[in-house]
């Protein structure tokens, strides 16, 4: 592989980390709660704007703004699940889709009203230049994002597998009746799970704020990519989401380098269709396949 190929691979891995985190949120919501969430991109954008607002108006370092974004995102996620989504949990997929789409319109346009549609850019001091190792370059914001992604994924793993709340979440996902009969407040647990999903999504958005210029509908561009990653990794499978996030990042970057950016979209959707046909439980086979 040429040096440029290597650089593309590296860029793909770093960007893939952010995709992975964004998809992790979707994977939780999609796999655990069985909700086809088309407000996912919009939720990401909310995270972006929270970090932007704190960074731009209060001068807070964007990475210090992340905890605030997390709290807010948790609340938003909790409320979205608790109010509208709760009522359509067992409704057909298209009802869920339309409802979350409606939520997306609301979120995006609330952002539009508050922040105007202007493109916003947040620059971080000291991040103007890439870091280098030999001839390879690392964009600092992407590198940090990658680190945060690993940490957050670890935390979510801990939360889901080591804590009582996490166990209740997984239990409710696997068997709602069983969970209720053990005295789990499934309604709250689901709202918490959605909240956690929203937090991951929001962090992913927040991490992108120093990387891209943001505008209210930016999240839409991540929507489908997140679905691809989620299905590829197996729904509800954390490590699956992480690995396939990286895969998609790398595929995008390499196909962008060798075939051109216009066709890399095509390659990703092609992979998506193949995976849906051939391994709908995901590459790692542990995701739960949904049937209606």
């Amino acid at each position: 592989m040429s040096l440029q190929g290597l650089q593309s691979l590296l860029d793909g891995i770093l960007m893939g980390g952010v995709y992975a985190l964004a998809a992790l949120g979707l994977s939780l919501i999609f796999g655990v709660l069985k909700i086809t969430n088309f407000a996912h991109g919009a939720m990401m954008t909310v995270g972006m704007y929270v970090v932007f607002a704190l960074g731009n108006d209060l001068g807070l370092n964007p990475y210090l703004a992340l905890p605030f974004a997390m709290v807010l995102m948790f609340l938003i996620g909790f409320l979205i699940q608790r109010f509208p989504i709760h009522y359509i949990e067992h409704a057909p997929t298209h009802n869920q889709l339309l409802l979350t789409l409606g939520m997306a319109y609301i979120l995006e346009n609330v952002l539009l009203v508050i922040f105007t549609p202007n493109y916003q850019t947040l620059t971080v001091k000291g991040f103007e230049k890439a870091w280098r190792i030999g001839s390879l370059t690392f964009a600092p914001a992407k590198l940090i994002a990658f680190g945060v992604v690993i940490i957050v994924t670890g935390c979510v793993y801990y939360l889901l597998y080591m804590t009582n709340t996490g166990k209740s979440i997984r239990a409710s996902a696997q068997n709602e009746t069983g969970a209720k009969l053990m005295g789990i407040n499934v309604r709250n647990i689901r709202a918490i799970a959605f909240g956690i999903g929203a937090v991951c999504t929001g962090i992913a958005g927040g991490l992108l704020t120093p990387i891209m210029s943001i505008y209210p509908t930016l999240g839409e561009t991540f929507q489908l990519k997140c679905f691809v990653i989620t299905v590829l990794g197996g729904m509800g499978n954390l490590w699956g989401a992480l690995v396939s996030g990286l895969i998609i990042g790398v595929v995008e970057s390499l196909s962008g380098y060798y075939l051109g950016g216009s066709w890399s979209e095509m390659v990703i959707y092609g992979i998506f269709i193949l995976i849906l046909f051939l391994r709908p439980t995901g590459l790692f086979g542990r995701g739960n396949r949904r049937e209606n």
Binding site: K167, S168, R170, Q174, T177, K180, L181, M182, I184, N288
Partner: protein
């Protein structure tokens, strides 16, 4: 301990349970018998707060739980081992048991209860880290009963625990029920397999078309010619 008066339960517009009165006294094993589809499961689910109760009352330990949520009911000590076991199939046996101890009360006695479950079903200890979904039907039923015990029940409801089990497994489960009863837990058990269950029950009710058709002590029921003809079949 559990007093049910004129209970009505529906699913959608359908009226499934049309006025059942039933009682479980402290220290009893009571059996609810009936053929497939007479509404046993609907009735049982309603007791745990998973049904649409349209009339009547359910009283547990002097407390009205007719419209309580399933959490409140579990907290009060009325625990159900549901039909079809409803395990968390991707989680390990150990995790399944741990989740059983979800309430505060149960958490406080978790260690003790876990030990008891392991003495009751020693094989569970060996399967601790296996995913519950990979176990055989009988093993799964043991996990389900164990999980119910982890919730520290005062009254344990078992909904058709022998369904799909081999005769040996069925015996094992019923033996466990006796053991549990000896330990001071009252039991309400729904069964199609009347022959076996009447051997361990004190009293029994027969459910038919959403109504109690007959009731009495286990012995009376076992000797009732009509019931013999209908359910015991031989």
């Amino acid at each position: 301990m559990l007093t049910i008066t004129d209970l009505h339960v529906g699913i959608g517009n359908l009226k499934i349970i049309q006025g059942i009165s039933l009682e479980v006294r402290r220290g009893e094993i009571v059996s609810l018998m009936g053929a497939n589809g007479v509404g046993k499961t609907t009735f049982m689910r309603a007791l745990s707060g998973l049904g649409h109760i349209t009339g009547g009352t359910v009283e547990f330990e002097g407390q009205d739980i007719t419209h309580a949520t399933s959490q409140e009911i579990v907290e009060a000590g009325l625990i159900q081992v549901p039909e079809g076991r409803q395990l968390f199939s991707l989680m390990s046996v150990k995790e399944n048991l741990e989740i059983g101890a979800h309430t505060k009360r149960a958490k406080a006695r978790m260690k003790e209860n876990l030990e008891y479950v392991y003495t009751l079903f020693p094989e569970l200890k060996e399967m601790n880290s296996q995913a519950a979904g990979n176990l055989s039907g009988g093993q799964q039923q043991m996990v389900a009963v164990g999980r119910g015990l982890m919730a520290d029940p005062k009254l344990l409801i078992l909904d058709q625990p022998s369904i799909g089990l081999s005769p040996i497994m069925t015996q094992k489960v019923l033996k466990a029920v006796i053991d549990i009863h000896i330990r001071g837990v009252s039991v309400l058990i729904a069964e199609q397999n009347i022959h076996d269950v009447l051997k361990i029950a004190h009293r029994a009710y027969v459910l038919e078309q959403g109504l109690i058709r007959a009731s009495g002590t286990a012995q009376e029921m076992a000797e009732n010619a009509e019931i013999k003809a209908m359910y015991l079949g031989h």
